[in-house]
Symmetry: D2
Subunit: 97 residues, 4 copies
């Protein structure tokens, strides 16, 4: 499946980039395919592995932050998902510029 998630520390100040970096580092170290965008991180892999990575982000960030808000969006298919870059390419190919 392909999932996008973002994590927002609540009550940890207005500059949350350090915490976000920590979460992305955990995704990076997982070995799963991922891509960063300005509003979240897209991760590709089996459901359980992707969710385990997000749980690890939760556990690690709760060491520093009292409260976290996650938004997770999942695109799940019966068969294998096309690779995440195909979704962007397929739209880009059809755009009239």
């Amino acid at each position: 499946m392909i999932a996008e998630f973002s994590v927002t520390p609540i009550g940890s100040g207005v500059h949350v980039g350090g915490y976000v970096t920590k979460a992305v580092q955990i995704v990076h170290d997982s070995g799963l395919k991922y891509a960063l965008n300005p509003m979240g991180t897209v991760v590709e892999g089996p459901w359980e592995e992707v969710m385990a990575v997000i749980k690890r982000c939760n556990d690690e960030l709760l060491k520093d932050c009292e409260r976290l808000s996650f938004v997770i969006k999942v695109d799940s298919r019966r068969g294998p998902s096309p690779p995440m870059e195909d979704k962007v390419r397929s739209v880009n190919d059809r755009l009239e510029r």
Copy 2:
């Protein structure tokens, strides 16, 4: 933690109530505390249990639907979360009507 999730079958017609009911039945049968609202289901419990229920919804609905879109929002705290009904009551108590 407290999580809200919704599942949208893609390509399974415009009337998706039957699939949504199937998902809510799975939540109901899990024994976890939950509450239905017009846009999703709020579930309260430990991270792993809540996520396992959502995964079960995914696995069961994929038997009938080719593709699913999930939106999951998580409110996660270092210590125990206050019960979900407290969040509504605390706002309701302060509203001026």
Copy 3:
């Protein structure tokens, strides 16, 4: 349409109930049909009116908060939407308890 939204102040402390109440008060005062749940507020009405209420929440809360995160989920139909309570009732009627 029917929309659910939640607003999270970033960098305004861990107890955000006061800000949430302010947002719900704005929804209440709008006269639109709404329902509170533990993770957000569901509002029913024409697209422009619902979005205007959310914008008002943004403008008012930015007076007190430096940064806000909104999550908005919209269920939009070509014709009229069934009233929000129908969505819950239709699922509840089919649940086996």
Copy 4:
């Protein structure tokens, strides 16, 4: 502000790329700064302009689709938002690879 949104046609088949392209074309034609990712489109601009573009997507897609589901995530600040690419760069610069 910076917003990410995605639109999912419900009941319009499992291949929704054509509709998504139509929405992205509307964003592109708006002249607002935007970036596509595998799970959504990030748009930067004043609240009213960004929301007007999303509304246009709704109106145009409802001509072809009976029902749409939108997820909109907003990062809103009292002052000017840093440009969207800064958010990714700031995390990338801190990652240990």
